[in-house]
């Protein structure tokens, strides 16, 4: 009795393992695997793969896109990279997110590709290419639109209360009082996904102390957290929390499940500090709101701050990197060029993205929302500094506890001084 049952169990287990691996994709055979973070924008990359395959129809191999669900994209990628099942080309956030792979020599340097083909190199905004580098070596090529963090607001709620969107920090504070009085949560905040809380600190630190404060931290000097700008930013966060700027139930609101966005579109919250992808989220889930009532402004300057108020934070874009020593490296490098083609840029614009290519301005008129597209493009083009999200700029062993500390600060579990001490100890 025992052995058939064990055999069956073994068979079932093997099956499970096989299915689990089946979702990924090895780089052997006649297929070049391109890993993409699964979302609604992948159609653009699918178009590129189609054109690539049409051009290589006679070569006896083809490129395929593997869409990996976003929730555990990072874990899946890391496991695949560590187990010799590397995808040939993969989506990432550049900088700190690929640094561990670059250190292990798992990535193909792309400097030669750019040097050989100046036209391709010049196609991208230099500030955006910058975040695709690790220690000065180019490992990532921009593949998406730019994603600056902006302050979204609900026009209908503003009209109802009779106020204007904020232009200064005093405006922000008085709006907090106005909306609290009107029983509307001033700012939607997804406290269950603390990377959304991080956006507040990123802007505050940059406005108060400029980009150098975080640049020092990103270089590995954790004493950089003791910069007075960080403490002042943390004080301001606590001040906002105490004034009720985020309402009283933000700690368990989720972003990935749409909680914070729904609060804004339903008018239960007046504003939401979020990446520009928030527009597509609303377009998808609350179309009428996105088209009529979704407003957006830049993050206001902070009085006395030394940072340039034109700086932005967020994700400059996402990047494609190529696995070193794969069977398709040559083809993979060739595939990267497709991200600068006119068709690719046109597809991005048609899907509401704002390309980071230098020629993007000319095609932005074709965007479904040219006004918002131009707003973003000019915001990024004119920004002296584009700060990559902290949790992507740092390596995971520092980023993970940092994000937890930020969550604790917002929840009132840490005083600003304890917050700074904890980060400096990382």
């Amino acid at each position: 009795m025992t052995s058939p049952r064990t055999a069956a169990a073994l068979a079932a287990l093997t099956l499970l393992t096989v299915t689990a691996c089946g979702g990924g994709g090895s780089s052997s055979g006649d297929e070049m695997h391109v890993w993409m973070y699964q979302d609604t924008l992948v159609v653009v990359q699918e178009g590129a793969v189609e054109r690539f395959n049409a051009d290589h129809a006679d070569d006896g191999f083809q490129a395929v896109i593997d869409q990996v669900p976003g929730d555990n994209y990072v874990e899946r990628l890391r496991t695949a990279m560590g187990s010799g099942e590397q995808p040939d080309v993969f989506f990432n956030w550049g900088s700190g997110s690929i640094a561990p792979y670059a250190e292990q020599g798992l990535l193909e340097p792309l400097d030669d590709l750019l040097a050989e083909d100046p036209e391709f190199a010049d196609a991208f905004l230099p500030s955006v290419l910058e975040s695709g580098k690790v220690d000065g070596v180019q490992y990532g090529i921009p593949l998406r639109g730019t994603q600056p963090v902006v302050l979204f607001y609900n026009r209908a709620v503003f009209e109802e209360v009779g106020v204007e969107p904020p232009e200064t920090w005093e405006d922000v504070l008085s709006l907090v009082d106005d909306f609290t009085e009107a029983e509307v949560t001033p700012f939607a905040l997804a406290g269950a996904d603390p990377w959304t809380e991080q956006m507040w600190l990123q802007y505050l630190v940059d406005r108060i102390g400029g980009p150098d404060v975080f640049a020092r931290i990103a270089e590995g000097d954790s004493e950089g957290w003791r910069d007075p700008a960080v403490l002042e930013a943390a004080d301001m966060v606590v001040d906002l929390v105490d004034r009720g700027a985020f309402g009283d139930s933000y700690a368990s609101v989720s972003y990935t499940e749409g909680g914070a966005s729904t609060l804004l579109s339903e008018g239960r919250a007046a504003m939401h500090l979020m990446g520009s992808w928030e527009y597509s989220t609303h377009l998808d889930q609350a179309r009428e709101f996105a088209e009529n009532d979704l407003g957006y402004v830049e993050f206001p300057p902070i009085p006395g701050g030394t940072g340039d108020p034109a700086n932005v934070v967020g994700n400059p874009t996402n990047y494609f990197s190529v696995s070193a020593d794969g069977p398709h490296v040559e083809h993979a490098l060739d595939f990267l060029r497709y991200t600068a083609q006119d068709e690719y840029v046109a597809d991005m614009v048609a899907n509401g993205e704002v390309p980071t290519t230098a020629n993007a301005e000319e095609v932005l008129a074709d965007s479904p929302n040219p006004e918002f597209a131009t707003f973003q493009y000019e915001l990024v083009r004119d920004a002296p500094h584009f700060q990559l999200s902290w949790d992507q700029a740092l390596t995971p062993e520092v980023a993970t506890p940092m994000v937890t500390e930020i969550e604790a600060l917002f929840n009132g579990q840490r005083t600003p001084q304890e917050f700074v001490d904890a980060l400096a100890a990382l």
């Binding site: 025992t2 064990t6 890391r78 561990p100 269950a192 603390p194 700690a251 368990s252 729904t262 993970t400």
Partner: protein, 302 residues
Amino acid sequence: MSATVRDRAAPRTGRPGPLWALPGVAFFALFAALPMVLVAYLSFTHWGGLGDPRFAGFDNWTRLAGDRLMHRAVGLSLLLTVASWAIQTPISLLLGVWSAGRQRGRAVVSALFFLPLLLSSAAVAIVWRALLDPNFGPLAWAGPFLGLGTVDLLGGSTSAFWVIVFVASWQFIPLHMLLYQGGARQIPETLYQAARIDGAGRLGMFWHITLPQLRNTMTTSSILMVVGSLTYFDTVLIMTGGGPGTDTTIVPYLMYRAGFRSWELGYASAIAFTLVVAATLIALVMVRLTGFGSMRSTREGI
């Protein structure tokens, strides 16, 4: 002479030969013993899942001893274990004994009680999180209606922890109820008949017959609860993500966080190994203390 007798007698006892244990042993060795050895090895290395592990000596272990997050997690895990045991044992004991009666009504009600056990942990966690959502769940209108204002149980430091304890109990009481029900049904009717003749009341019979007779069941159930609580993970991951802050970061979640968020697999292995050793020791001590291991029958003298 005697040897041949024994040889011939051996098959008659009906004990299978060691060969029959081979599949089980091989399975255990491959999927339990080997990973444990690997984890023990990894705990002495630095490894991010890429390239080769670098030998680290006792780095991870000294860090573990001084890690405030780990101390906190151990405290929370112990509290979770004690609280789960103290809440689940009396309820499932009473429900189990009650449902051991043969009345039809009891059978129907126990079938209903049993339902949560049929749901996967992930489903249970997702459903409870949706129910407790302060903005979109039933609490969004129930809170103000009852005059409580906004009720954000998962966002509060203490409340989030007790929500975890509650959901664990809700999910696992049915299992332990079933154990106690089975145990109670095994108690010979003659004991109760004899007690009745001696003039014992219902409470007396429960106290002097049912409880002592359920001693072994209680040990089994307690060990399951304790080990289950020490390794409790999925509900925490889905409902709170260890938060708010680190207020529900129990040891298994800390291990996950170190391993698959921070990618410090060496450190995560040290946590994992500690957990394995602690859970094994606690289970062994419980078996010893309760006399469960000596397998003394509760029926002696009957």
